[in-house]
Symmetry: C2
Subunit: 398 residues, 2 copies
């Protein structure tokens, strides 16, 4: 039997994540990769978590290994809500759920809100995992370009006037993936005004918000929201560990109920042992002290990468100047295809994510690419940027 | 803003799992519950897993806490494939994936194959998690009654003749949830012949298959399949721990590729630490020896529950005689609604799952209920069945 004839319309035309395909190329030994989005593994609190996990399994093993509830392990969920309350994010009409990584929150909210053909606006470039979630719900996706202070609000309003079907706007307002850009307070307020006028919901994806290493905090959009329009996605992946698959979502109680039902179908509940480990970690230690360490290291690495770019890259290749997060974004002169540059870079032993994978139409050529500075060591950053600079001089000249 | 006006058609009419609602009633202290489907927590290898998890985090913490691949942690995936090969389940054209619990496998396969309006056949009664997955993909669900040797094949063939839209058949052929019944070898062969004739796919959900405590093994349907028609769902939930959320699916490679893409959108990958813990457990210890312990305890508990039922239940209340798994199924005389009986039982301090939650049309009244014997202690089984017997005598008389 040829099973491909049985595929549903939903999956028939789906393609594997381009980033995933790139990761396969990275198997080449000795390659210096700026393509991932992973935390620095040297900063994982392995010894602390080793002690914690053994304690939990010895003393509370019957809970850690048994079925849990869909909403999440209660002490962790309560801790998340308290933290979000202090940050002004969690409101009286809200509820929170622990999910199996931030991506699951986006997926559950998308399922709960998007009908086929509903309009969804996002920054362009944006996060491929988010885009794939909206695609899999057959949303019509519209992109808004990103300026140094975030989404272009005039272009957004023009889109809202033109398309009556826009139901959701997706933004990574702080240290955006892939650009590293942060939306200004003014634009956040404007966005909420537009949401009220044009009656849409805002998905605020904030996995990097805690990782500020320069400048001043900007309030989250959710904390400024007075109409219950913002669905807030948080994650433990960047502040503790991605391998534990822990995230959280906070939004209006009624929407949360739908998301919980969808989660029952997807995976019943989030891994209990992981939730207990995370709860024990934030109880025994200071998560803020841990985050402070991450900020220092990522700040140093980001500064180093930018300094190396300024030294080794042709002046026609521009890069953003992030104040936090894991990424910066480079733009080569128009007409150059970063997918072709990537092939040359791989030959030299360096990898990045070509801009196409961050765009709504990923079949086009773009002169952009994403660079991650959290995973590589400082030596690798210095060497990798130098090698990449050689490739770029070949491609773009001075 | 009233967010309910924004809900997608997919979730607008979804209801929370009835079993979940029952679980809320169980919060009453002192209640003896036969309603769950959880393993005996006293059998979790907590000390072994405590040592293992600490070792992994100390020696391989950078892997355990970092992002993993969607297909699963390679050593565990290879181990699963080898085990399935030995069981005749994994074929040359197959691929396997580690999923976040058996439920996720069902959900990914459903998404990959079911269009709205496609026909899906299942045993009736069946597993609510499966049913909800098919419902959320807007499948048209048809039920086939279950005899003592499994699905009624004549009624199945009549259905297949009547409905041209049937694409998938879902079966828990071994120690079925909720009935505890096992499909005979003859019927398994007949089912494969029908699948070939009427060109449909079989979902074989087999979370309980390893838990046989009486009688002789019957080959899995997948092991008898020569046409690549069977998608096989396995789980670590019943043989190791449900809290770790680990399952696996094996099927044709091409279908697997679609499922992997769907999983990227749902949760990127399965918890890495859990996968490494499971792999380390099956490497350091004998999973078969562990399963043997479970079989002995569940066999003893099942025998005890049946003996108590024969002693304390009115003779008009019949029960199935499982040879493995976690459940048996009771049938009261026609016209009695098990939802009403459950209210009375709860007042007495005993809980079960009313048959309605296992049926396609869960709004009707059914004289059936599901009893779980794995979670309660032997003392609780004796006392709980006695109390339930008193309720049943009140309701049905002799």
């Amino acid at each position: 039997m040829n099973i491909t004839t049985k595929f549903s319309d939903k999956v028939k035309h789906l393609e594997a994540s381009a980033i995933r395909e790139i990761f396969k190329l990275l198997a080449k030994p000795g390659i210096i990769s700026f393509a991932g989005g992973a935390p620095d593994p040297n900063l994982f609190p392995t010894e602390e978590l080793a002690e914690i996990s053994a304690d939990i399994l010895r003393k509370q093993g019957k809970t850690a290994l048994q079925y849990g509830v869909t909403e999440g392990y209660d002490p962790l969920r309560t801790w998340v809500k308290e933290r979000l309350k202090k940050q002004g994010i969690f409101k009286d009409a809200d509820e929170a759920i622990i999910v199996s990584g931030g991506q699951q929150g986006i997926d559950l909210a998308s399922k709960s809100l998007l009908n086929p053909g509903d309009g969804l606006v996002c920054e362009e470039p944006s996060f491929i995992g988010g885009l794939n979630s909206f695609r899999s719900n057959n949303a019509e996706i519209y992109g808004v370009p990103v300026a140094e202070d975030g989404m272009d609000m005039e272009k957004l309003e023009a889109l809202l006037k033109e398309h009556q079907n826009i139901k959701v706007l997706y933004t990574i307002a702080t240290f955006q993936n892939p650009s590293g850009i942060t939306m200004s307070l003014e634009k956040r307020k404007k966005l909420l005004t537009l949401a009220s006028t044009y009656d849409f919901i805002i998905f605020e994806d904030n996995p990097y918000g805690e990782l500020r290493f320069m400048g001043e905090d900007v309030p989250t959009i959710k904390s400024l929201d007075t109409e219950g329009r913002v669905v807030y996605f948080g994650s433990f992946s960047k502040i503790l560990s991605p391998g534990l698959r822990l995230g959280f979502t906070a939004c209006d109680k009624q929407l949360m109920e739908r998301m919980i039902i969808c989660k029952q179908v997807e995976d019943v509940h989030t891994n209990v042992l992981s939730q207990m480990i995370a709860y024990e970690f934030v109880t025994r230690y200071s998560i803020d002290a841990h985050i402070q360490k991450l900020r220092e290291v990522y700040g140093r690495k980001c500064q180093l990468m930018m300094a190396c770019m300024d030294k080794y890259f042709p002046s026609s290749v521009k890069h953003t100047h992030p104040e936090g997060g894991l990424f910066l974004f480079c733009t080569m002169p128009d007409g150059i295809d970063s997918k072709e540059v990537m092939q040359k870079a791989l030959d030299k032993g360096v990898a990045f994510v070509p801009g196409a994978t961050t765009m709504i139409d990923d079949k086009q050529s773009y002169p952009t690419f994403r660079m991650n500075y959290s995973t590589a060591t400082e030596e690798e950053i210095e060497k990798g940027i130098q090698l990449l600079g050689e490739v770029l001089y070949e491609v773009v000249g001075e």
